[in-house]
Symmetry: C2
């Protein structure tokens, strides 16, 4: 087992992974281009981009620690997986603004006895997630800590005036989620249960599906760009605080209410199986603090671009409508109640 | 003692501190402007800037944990101080690139029992440091963790082509440090010593001086801008890895050596007092892993702008010269040796 110090890791491991980054470039719009002039390969104090022409720039940070580390500590997530997760979680914030990711910075701190091989796996997961979404890990901070700590920030670009915000929903707009939620919470509940408490288990397909949302976060970059380029979304946010909290936050920012139609809520069979097995109401998983990184957004009901959106992004599902009344209610036939799931608290580290 | 949860802290504490950020704007050069369109006050997934005209953008991250927390745990640094430190450390990376800070993101994670008052103090320290350097804390991530964890990232802008890098030093260039180093290391050594091991103590002026470099990091933003605007520095880096490591890194990046003149090394009386009291060679503190956030840079020896630089930044001291030979040596009269201080290892958390 090799355990190198920080200068050796910079010199040998990160250099190998993040070599020759110059040349990355993206055309934001006619006449507006961003180019990476100096990335992690240069080892300056900062990464360095050159911008020509007008554009908007978005910039966000996500710290990763908390429940997902239970799955890591149980051996269900690898070092590669948590590296991928860090990048994916941060790119999801860029996607939620409708922007194109341009650069990612990773803060990776680790106990002194973390072998080089495991450190390399974390960074490889970060690199591969970034590559998948067309962006580079252009810098960050590495070094020791009592235990693994992952934090990141990302930077994206977008045509001026087309940023997606949370505050533009109008009464009558359709409320759309980009796919089923609750998978991440179902994974936590299922794998975190006392093994003795349940003799029966999920089938392999279902349990793999639940883990896959932790192992390969899929930030909705393509959808976010489509929503901003076509001026489709009147408000947008990712569901990283859970579906209920995200609906509440869109409502507050836009000063509207929402009428959610229970029969339209997309649920995944693996979530239903886990809920049944665990004796939890399925909607508690679907609406609770499940970190699925879906997009939740609103569109004008009569927008002529909707049919092609539904065609190109078939996971998108209309689940309700914005209302003048500031209430948030879920309707099941004639009945209407508060949203299920825990309200946003985040006290789950 | 009030201990609010995360949504309450967002709603009440951070809103109060980071209210109404719109309108921040900076002219990078003729026709090139950056404006903050949506900051932390908007509570979107990311902060959002609007850029017009060509410019270069730099982007860096610094995690803050480690030795400075010994001083915090000893009660010598307040919550306000460590908040200020987080912002200052990150702005120092922007300064080292010669850029103007444009936005800061703070990741503040804390144990569940951290009272609102202490959380507010940390964020106030961040805010005040940012304000001092003309930048805003435009977003980030808050929430719980086992103990206080601070990480940040910053974003700066600069006229195209004038970024300061580490790789431009040429043989014959003068090596300059922006002020005395070793204060941060002296504070660690002095306040970290076994109280019983030394009956005598430093005078109040000296011990206050040592603590002040931890309490109020002063990133050299004005100096960095001057060095880039006038095309003065051929290479530049901050000394956050310590003076020896910084000299070594500039040498490696620029493919030069350095001949350092021991008689020119600036030392602070408080560092000398601490070194004497502790029986440590003063140059070990000055060159070792002391996180003083000075700038170390090179300039052409015949640059006509040097006299006005010395006049405006009187702390700047020429301490040596870049050499064709790739060796790094310190000269004391006729003698020449390796640099004192520990080489860069960073294994000090």
């Amino acid at each position: 087992v090799t355990i190198s110090d920080e200068p050796q890791r910079v010199a040998h491991i990160t250099s190998g992974l993040f070599g020759d980054q110059s040349g990355w470039s993206h055309d934001v719009s006619e006449g507006s281009t961003i180019t990476l002039t100096g990335g992690a390969d240069r080892r300056d104090d900062c990464a360095w981009f050159s911008i020509s022409g007008p554009m908007d720039v978005v910039f966000g940070s996500d710290y990763v620690r908390g429940p997902k580390f239970m799955l890591y500590e149980l051996g269900l997530l690898s070092n590669y997986d948590i590296g991928w997760y860090l990048a994916g979680a941060n790119l999801s914030d860029i996607a939620a603004m409708g922007a194109t990711p341009a650069g990612f910075l990773s803060v990776v701190r680790y106990p002194l006895d973390l072998p080089d091989s495991e450190f390399t796996e974390i960074l490889t997961g970060i690199r591969d997630c970034c590559r998948t979404y067309g962006v580079l890990n252009v810098g960050g901070d590495i070094g020791s800590a009592e235990r693994i700590i992952l934090s990141g920030s990302a930077f994206g670009v977008i045509r001026p005036g087309s940023v997606l915000t949370r505050d533009g929903a109008k009464p009558g707009d359709l409320l759309v989620v980009s796919g089923p939620t609750g998978l991440a919470a179902a994974a936590m509940a299922y794998f975190g249960r006392d093994a003795l408490s349940s003799a029966a288990g999920l089938d392999a397909t279902s349990s793999d599906k639940l883990l896959s949302v932790w192992r390969r976060v899929r930030p909705e970059v393509a959808l976010g760009r489509r929503l901003s380029e076509d001026g489709l979304a009147t408000s947008c946010q990712d569901t990283s605080d859970g579906l209920r909290a995200t609906i509440e936050q869109l409502a507050t920012a836009s000063q509207v209410g929402f009428a959610v139609d229970q029969s339209r809520i997309p649920t995944h069979p693996a979530v239903e199986s886990a809920a049944n097995l665990l004796g939890i109401p399925v909607l508690d998983l679907v609406f609770g603090g499940s970190v699925d990184f879906r997009l939740l957004f609103t569109v004008r009901a009569d927008d002529p671009a909707l049919p092609s959106l539904w065609e190109d992004f078939p996971g998108c599902t209309v689940i309700g409508r914005a209302t003048e009344s500031r209430e948030i209610r879920i309707h099941d036939g004639g009945e209407s109640t508060e949203l299920p799931g825990e309200p946003w608290r985040h006290h789950t580290d």
